[in-house]
Subunit: 453 residues, 2 copies
């Protein structure tokens, strides 16, 4: 007979929903990362980092946000930078997907429970192809990161004054940071020195866009790139929306910043185009910058706010409300204006349950951003345009900044930590994890409609 | 045999949808008002008013917004002020409802066509009680305006240095302006001189709240005030949401402006409470002010933006996306978080068609406000917080201002005219009027769902 185990702890862990476990995983890894980053050995100067700065950096890395309160290249030692890189890679894979992968390697098989967990994390819609999905995620991540590391290393080594070792470290760091849409950079002005370098900018942009498409789309493209008519509604929406937003964003930035002497003004037209395209890509939600964000027109900030808020595709390394949410809302709007009974997208009818999800995501995201923006304005007296840019950037895990984050009071930075965390976990996931258990209503109530608008 | 009539003009008018006719009615009355206001006789100085200023004033009055580009009390002659008052009353009734009433009086009966028109305008949900609805609207408007005129006239005459004639004109003007949520005032600082006067503030607040409840609610309260269990979902939502928003708004303003020396600071606590309540009422969307809006904290502006955006109840004199839209979105969110299948409100199930309407209204409103805000910022270089306040105020037909509207360039004022117009007509109505005819899809397409958020 086996000894009865102490039941309480195990049972309460088992009682937790997948969502609550993901939540817990994020918190544990953040705590661990914060602890290591606080060590003197993690900094270049060998001094201890304050709790809030270490917490902010760990959260920003794990949530692949890229907002910083200290200079990543100058403040952290090699150890610190490696910790940040590991957190980024963990964050990109998804903490729980990663745990599932480890289980897969160690046990050679997956329990139904870890399958459910990873499915919730990767937002896969079925369990059948989960094993191949996760293996696919790892394989694709490593391949893209490897290719980009080679390109960046060679370019840094051959065309810029770096030793091979320097170039390799910079290449690896920026490759991982790019594919995972993290936006951390070891250069103190992000990528501003490469504003006119198509090799660096375009190769990074490609990796960022790929990561921002999300793994379901990447896997489907790999399997069915010859037969577009078999693509799912999800893949079609993501590809269309990404294209429209990239082109629109490029045009918008080009038009508004064309003659701004502090941004695009001094560049020739091809550099202007490259810089606008690169900056447009960053709103999907990588967060590097090759021009000075703080010097942009406030109107440009407002446009970037909108692009960052929309973000990239789900189940990948991007943040924001997601392009699918945005597209679904637009299709609902068009259906309402045309008076059609069903919402049809690319020849398929949109499931009604999706309407409610889309509204909920946008509503929670907006409420959070407005609340934190108000709180930060009240705390600091900073103007709305800068504060809003920072909160949208934090929520959408973008990491672009008008330069105010490092100077915020600790409470303000803590609010951004919360926003990055909720933004990466997803506002609905976050709220559900906190929510009480549902009391199922088994009967339907009589229907009624109030007057809208 | 009857002579065949010239068919083209009549047929094309008959072909117009009710929505397009309402649209046309608004445009015609605005044009007429603009024309009269441009006459030298309409100004105190006897000089011609510029087209854009006359257009802005006429639109602001007809859309019961209350934003101004000239001083209403000083710039306009008695004729000009009467024109503004007539436009406000027309706007409050609703141009088409008014036309229906005239038809009712002249012809003694209503054609089905005018019934449909008035129903679309008043957002009534059936045709059965339309005649009594319209008579009720007229009766209630006149009674409330009469009572408020008497109270204000007596107060102005007895407690302020005004002759009886002056007091009567001021009382009448502010009574009509209040019940119709117009916010036009003949005093050059709106109601700042009455900040501590409970008679003026509370009587006006009562009329504003009543107008902001919308006629369907008022009529139901009048008929069934003893039997709340018979109230419709619509009435319950409106009453609850209005109460919560009024109390919340009062607390918010009180907390943020408590010690601001330029607003609540110098007042004693009962005056602070009165002023906060009064200002909270104004966001439902009357737009008078008893404290200096331009001196408020930018964080207060942000909170007022949210309150103004939500606005009042439909089918009344209020603007904004409407409290019902906001409440419906919240209930959808709660249902989504709890995982319930249906959205239940006060023991009734919410019709699914309403989900789509609510999203569409909010989406169009947000897009419009962001676009015009961006355009105004680009045109003027003014900061986001002030521009956003002004555009939300214009869209939600509130009329509160941080003081930038009068100094905007003509293009900027024209953009606000458009925004006031769309805000009053309703973004969905506006978009539908422009939309092409629907191609009905008679079959249902196969269902599919993309990944959200
Ligand atoms: K990022
Ligand atoms: K108003």
């Amino acid at each position: 007979m086996t000894q009865p185990e102490p039941a309480t702890a195990r049972v309460s862990l088992r009682r937790m929903t997948p969502v609550q476990l993901i939540f817990l995983g994020f918190l544990l890894v953040t705590g661990l990362g914060t602890g290591i980053l606080m060590l003197p050995a993690a900094t270049a100067a060998g001094e201890e980092t304050s709790f809030i700065h270490a917490l902010f950096t760990a959260t920003s890395a794990l949530c692949v946000t890229g907002l910083t309160v200290v200079d990543t290249g100058a403040h952290w030692s090699a150890l610190g930078q490696v910790v940040i890189l590991v957190l980024i890679q963990l964050g990109g894979f998804g903490v729980m997907t990663f745990a599932t992968v480890v289980g897969l390697i160690v046990l050679g098989r997956l329990s139904l429970r870890s399958k459910l967990l990873a499915a919730a994390e990767a937002k896969s819609l079925g369990l059948a192809d989960l094993r191949s999905l996760i293996l696919g995620i790892v394989k694709i991540s490593l391949i893209v990161e490897l290719v980009l590391t080679v390109i960046l290393t060679l370019r840094f080594w051959l065309s810029y004054e770096m030793t091979f070792g320097e170039a390799l470290w910079q290449g690896l760091f920026h490759a991982i940071s790019a594919f995972n849409n993290a936006g951390f950079s070891l250069f103190n002005d992000s990528l501003m020195q490469f504003v006119g370098d198509p090799v660096v900018c375009l190769s990074m942009a490609a990796a960022i866009i790929l990561g921002g498409l999300g793994f379901p789309v990447i896997l489907q493209l790999r399997r069915r790139y010859r037969t577009p008519r078999l693509w799912s509604m999800h893949t079609r929406i993501v590809l269309w929306a990404t294209t429209v937003l990239l082109v629109g964003g490029t045009g918008f930035i080009l038009a508004l910043e064309w003659s701004n002497p502090a941004t695009l003004g001094p560049l020739n037209w091809s550099e202007k185009l490259l810089a606008s395209f690169f900056q447009s890509v960053q709103t999907r939600t990588a967060g590097f910058n090759s021009v000075d964000i703080s010097a942009m027109e406030p109107t440009t900030w407002l446009g970037l706010d909108a692009l960052m808020f929309i973000g990239g595709a789900p189940a990948g390394t991007a943040g924001g409300i997601k392009v699918t949410t945005f597209a679904v809302l637009l299709f609902i709007l068009f259906a309402e204006l045309r008076g059609g009974a069903a919402v049809n997208i690319f020849g398929k009818r949109l499931s009604r349950a999706v309407h409610r999800q889309a509204i909920s995501v946008v509503l929670l995201a907006t409420a959070l951003i407005v609340l934190v923006t108000g709180a930060l304005m009240h705390l600091t007296g900073l103007p709305l345009d800068q504060v809003l840019f920072e909160t949208v950037s934090a929520f959408a895990t973008v990491g672009l900044s008008t330069g105010i984050t490092a100077d915020l009071p600790a409470v303000g930075q803590a609010l951004l930590v919360l926003l990055m965390f909720i933004g990466r976990v997803g506002p609905i996931t976050f709220a559900s994890a906190l929510a009480l258990r549902e009391r199922r209503t088994m009967y339907e109530l009589p229907k009624e409609r109030p007057i809208i608008g």
